[in-house]
């Protein structure tokens, strides 16, 4: 199977693909602006906004106070006034500081107002463990956002998707949350220079296989694919599905694969309990129960805060070896 990213000659990093997509949207649409902590002069703590302030000026690349509620409110008020804001909440953990503005305000205004408000706002943030950033700078909190009617949520796994999904989020007329993974920022892949969209709500089969369906997203796509490649030498062929968008979920692609393979594992970095894996497993059980030959396997982080010490953190984050063990057992079940 050939993915768009494989045939593209120009290879750039995930973080650079994000920056390029944002800059192209700002070039194309004067209503697009970005605001957040350190996004201006500093270019963002991860360099994701580098060069934009010099190019577009202080009014379109806005350094804000460390005030997450006001940052999201700034975007919401500007969006209902006709602008197309991109607001950055540096670390996904900080999204919790702004939960009222995201959940009670931005997500609901359109519905509460009888459809009159339009909120083309993109919230960008960075999730994920693996940098010894400890419990308040490492979380994957996507499940709680996917629970909120009115929000859309994406978590790209590669540079091609990072650019295409960001452009789709910015062009979308709803509040969207674009979640980067910190450990993917430097990962390179093929990215076309011209702007392009990846429709929200479309999953992608990144590795075909007939024995086990592995449903995953974000950085775990790479761990799951590594596990799948290793298992192939044992004669177990996994079909790896990258969800790309988590709200709305492309359950059609998942269910069709499950009906064909009859064995499903759902893998995410987020804490397993209450994670998106439960929702996905439940959806498969509802739509494809009669096709299943084994209980649905769920792989996720254990039920603890993210630990600091590298020795502990590597036990916390699911990896290819852990995923491989579970899939091997699932294939034999």
């Amino acid at each position: 199977m050939t993915l768009p990213t494989d045939t593209e000659e120009r290879r750039i990093a995930y973080g650079a693909a994000f920056t390029e997509g944002l800059a192209q949207m700002m070039d194309a649409d004067p209503n697009v602006f970005v605001a957040g902590e350190d996004v201006g002069r500093a270019g963002g703590v991860f360099g994701s906004f580098r060069g934009l302030n010099e190019r577009f000026g202080d009014m379109r690349v806005v350094d804000t106070p460390i005030s997450e509620q006001a940052i999201v409110g700034l975007g919401t008020g500007a969006a209902v006034s006709g602008l197309r804001p991109v607001v950055d909440l540096m670390f996904m953990d900080f999204i919790l500081v702004a939960m009222d503005q995201i959940v009670n305000q931005a997500a609901k205004l359109k519905y509460m107002f009888g459809g009159k408000a339009t909120l083309p706002m993109t919230i960008t943030t960075s999730a994920g463990a693996g940098l010894s950033a400890a419990a308040q700078h490492s979380q994957s909190l996507e499940a709680m956002l996917c629970h909120i009617p009115g929000l859309k949520v994406v978590m790209p796994s590669n540079p091609y998707d990072a650019k295409g999904l960001l452009i789709s989020c910015i062009r979308d007329d709803n509040p969207t949350v674009f979640v980067k993974h910190k450990r993917l920022l430097g990962r390179k892949g093929g990215v076309p220079e011209d702007p392009y969209e990846i429709p929200l709500g479309t999953a992608q089969v990144v590795r075909p296989g007939d024995d086990v369906t592995v449903v995953t997203y974000g950085r775990m796509v790479h761990e799951a694919t590594s596990a799948a490649n290793a298992l192939a030498s044992e004669g177990i062929e996994c079909e790896v599905i990258d969800l790309r968008t988590l709200q709305p979920l492309d359950m059609d692609t998942v269910v069709q694969s499950a009906q064909r393979t009859s064995r499903v594992a759902v893998v995410h970095e987020a804490v397993r309990f209450g994670g998106l894996g439960g929702e996905i497993a439940s959806g498969i059980a509802e739509e494809a129960f009669d096709y299943l030959d084994a209980p649905i396997e769920r792989v996720g982080a254990p039920f603890s805060p993210v630990p600091f010490s590298p020795a502990l953190e590597k036990e916390w984050v699911p990896n290819a070896e852990m995923i491989g063990e579970r899939i091997r057992a699932l294939a034999a079940a």
Binding site: A28, D29, P30, N31, F33, M59, V62, T64, P65, S67, E68, Q69, A70, I71, V72, G73, L74, G75, T76, G77, A78, A79, V80, S81, G82, L83, P85, D100, Q101, N104, Q105, L109, K110, Y111, M112, F113, G114, G115, K116, A117, T118, L119, P149, G150, K152, R171, D172, D173, N174
Partner: protein, 330 residues
């Protein structure tokens, strides 16, 4: 700047229209003809009227759980409002918002808000959009003394000042955050003291004096339109009814004497005395304004009662906007 006679009559009409809407809503609630919560603005009319008389339809306001008065003052339609309070399909929000989320974006009214302080950052965002476009439009945040204790207010006030946005913060200090007196919840007497901490000018006005409110708002709005940044007005006022609904339901959180003293300074009665003394509007003229508002509210109630309930099929409509991005729009 002194208000013209025309402005004085406009202020009177706005206050009277708020009063009649709220008294009618209170009566309907007492008769169990309105579902849900109801936070009445009676007693505080001079604040919304005095501020909104300085605004055009293109200027935005964000409001509070006690938001009907702000929408009426901004020119809101009685029929759409009453239908919304009754949860009817013809309501401002198609019956999906109710009293606490009533809005009219065409009038720049960005919504009442069920979360104390929740509307403050949103109005600051609207102010940002105005500055971004280089327009001279302004946004106004209405909030209570209670909301001045929540983080969203402080974050948004600081941001408005740091980015020098055309925003007017109007604190309606009615001395109670829900049922708890202000002196139990803050160590300052005047909420406006907080403005200095954000580097914005602040003023205290008598919130029962509509002309005083109008004058202070006129100056602050002009300042914002000139691009000189945000300012803060604290209006000392009082709500004549309970935090929600009409009756206090046996709660003894404020004294009858205190209520009576404030009612002696009813903002509409005070203003009508003044208008009569100044020869701008006599008792008969004032009565005609009341009669017109009363006729309008009766028509609005009839409209709302005859209106259909929302179609159950509308339940899942407008959770999302179907996107059809058509490129940059001016």
């Amino acid at each position: 700047m002194d208000p013209s006679s025309e402005t004085l009559l406009d202020l009177h009409r706005r206050m009277v229209r708020i009063r009649h809407f709220e008294e009618a809503a209170g009566r309907l609630a007492e008769q169990n003809r309105l579902p849900g919560f109801l936070h009445l603005y009676v007693g505080e009319e001079a604040v919304a009227a005095g501020v909104c008389a300085n605004l055009d339809d293109d200027d935005q306001i964000s409001s509070t759980h006690r938001g009907h008065g702000h929408l009426v003052a901004k020119g809101g339609d009685y029929g759409g409002m009453m239908a919304e309070l009754m949860g009817k399909a013809t309501g401002y929000c198609g019956g999906k918002g109710g009293s606490m989320h009533i809005c009219d974006l065409d009038l720049g009214m960005l919504g009442a808000n069920g979360i104390v302080g929740g509307g403050v950052p949103i109005a600051v965002g609207a102010g940002f959009a105005n500055k971004y476009r280089g327009s001279d439009r302004v946004s106004v945040v209405f909030f209570g003394d209670g909301a001045s204790n929540i983080g969203a207010f402080h974050e948004a006030a600081n941001m408005a000042a740091a980015l020098s946005l055309p925003v007017l913060f109007v604190c309606e200090n009615n001395e109670y955050g829900e049922f708890t007196p202000r002196d139990r919840t803050m160590a300052i007497t005047d909420v406006v003291d907080r403005a200095a901490g954000y580097g914005m000018p602040g003023a205290i006005v008598d919130g029962m004096d509509v002309v005083a409110v109008w004058e202070a708002a006129n100056e602050a709005v002009s300042r914002a339109r000139r691009g000189e940044g945000p300012s803060f007005i604290e209006a000392k006022t009082y709500r004549f009814y309970n935090h929600h609904g009409v009756q206090t339901l046996g709660m003894k959180y404020r004294s009858d004497d205190e209520l009576e003293q404030w009612k002696q300074r009813d903002p509409i009665e005070l203003f009508e005395d003044r208008l009569a003394s100044a020869g701008v509007l006599d008792a008969d003229g004032a009565q005609a304004v009341h009669a017109a508002a009363q006729a309008d509210i009766e028509a609005a109630i009839a409209f709302a009662e005859q209106s259909p309930l929302p179609d159950p099929d509308s339940l899942l409509v407008d959770v999302y906007t179907p996107t059809a991005y058509s490129g940059a729009t001016p």
